[in-house]
């Protein structure tokens, strides 16, 4: 079945794009931008960075659509490209590692006095700074595992790394994060 809810299937849209229909590409972008933005937001520094990453993702999609064989759903291919682009972005800013002072935010177990939303905000900020101290591949794995709740198998498929490799990176990332927390509490 090609048509669901009057919306053409991805296969049809992709065929149209390959035939040179740019409007079909815009349609594809509209359909998947939320997903790409949601995932890329976990790895971007600010709004401009996020916009750049997402543009890069869709440009790669546009340029490589000819290589998409259609063996797996388009969404899987899109996720892989998004992850790869985020990883490239993380690697390109590796030099900035350690520049952000983790001390600027203090997250405490006893912070129950502040509201849930505020606590989440503080946790997110703290985590963001802590994650920035990790190696790009470790950060990628722990973010997908803990924040996006992907399984080890899914992460392995998305990144192209072996499951054992993903497990090792997740373990390493967690260990490093714990060390950072310990340091925070010692102070």
């Amino acid at each position: 079945m090609n048509v669901i809810n009057n919306e053409p299937s991805d296969e049809i849209v992709i065929q149209d794009i390959r035939a040179g229909n740019t409007e079909a590409f815009v349609q594809l972008v509209r359909k998947y931008k939320r997903k790409v933005f949601g995932l890329a937001a976990r790895f971007s520094r600010d709004a401009d960075d996020l916009d750049d990453i997402c543009q890069d993702v869709f440009i790669k999609i546009y340029e490589n659509l000819g290589n998409f064989r259609g063996d797996a759903p388009f969404e899987h291919w899109l996720s892989r490209i998004t992850i790869r682009t985020c990883y490239d972005a993380l690697r390109s800013r590796k030099k900035e590692k350690g520049n952000v002072p983790l001390e600027s935010i203090h997250y405490s177990l006893e912070d129950s006095a502040i509201g849930i939303n505020q606590a989440a905000e503080v946790a997110l900020n703290f985590l963001e700074l802590a994650l920035a101290q990790l190696r790009p591949e470790d950060r990628l794995v722990i973010t997908l595992l803990e924040l996006e709740e992907k399984s080890i198998r899914e992460i392995a498929e998305m990144t192209g790394w072996s499951q054992a490799n993903v497990k090792v990176r997740a373990f390493r990332a967690r260990k490093k994060l714990k060390q950072l927390l310990e340091k925070q509490y010692e102070k």
Binding site: A41, D51, I59, A120, V122, L124
Partner: protein, 101 residues
């Protein structure tokens, strides 16, 4: 056994998970910006392509000129291996080459 910091880390993750990034504002007019960038890239590529085609006659002219110059100013052939072959001294030259003379 989970340590205190494991627990704290889990809490951090839980809190961060509960707060999904709000990207609605950045998503606005994203298609327009994206298509503008794609068009810009394509026009750049087309410019390079057009220039490379425009340069073809110049390269062809250079090749012809070099060819004519090489025919007019043909230097005297020395006793290199290929000249020796041409002149029928191949046996002598091959022996010299193998002997390392």
């Amino acid at each position: 056994m989970k340590s205190e910091y494991d627990e704290l880390l889990d809490r951090l993750f839980l809190a961060a998970r509960s707060k999904k990034p709000d990207t609605a504002a950045i998503e606005e007019h994203f298609e327009t910006r994206l298509m503008a960038r794609i068009e810009e890239q394509q026009s750049k590529q087309q410019l390079w392509f057009a220039w490379s085609w425009r340069l073809v006659p110049w390269f062809a002219t250079i090749v012809v000129i070099v060819g004519i110059v090489s025919v007019i100013y043909d230097p005297l052939r020395s006793s290199d291996l290929f000249t020796a072959f041409d002149n029928g001294h191949e046996e002598y030259m091959t022996t010299s080459l193998i002997a390392g003379d």
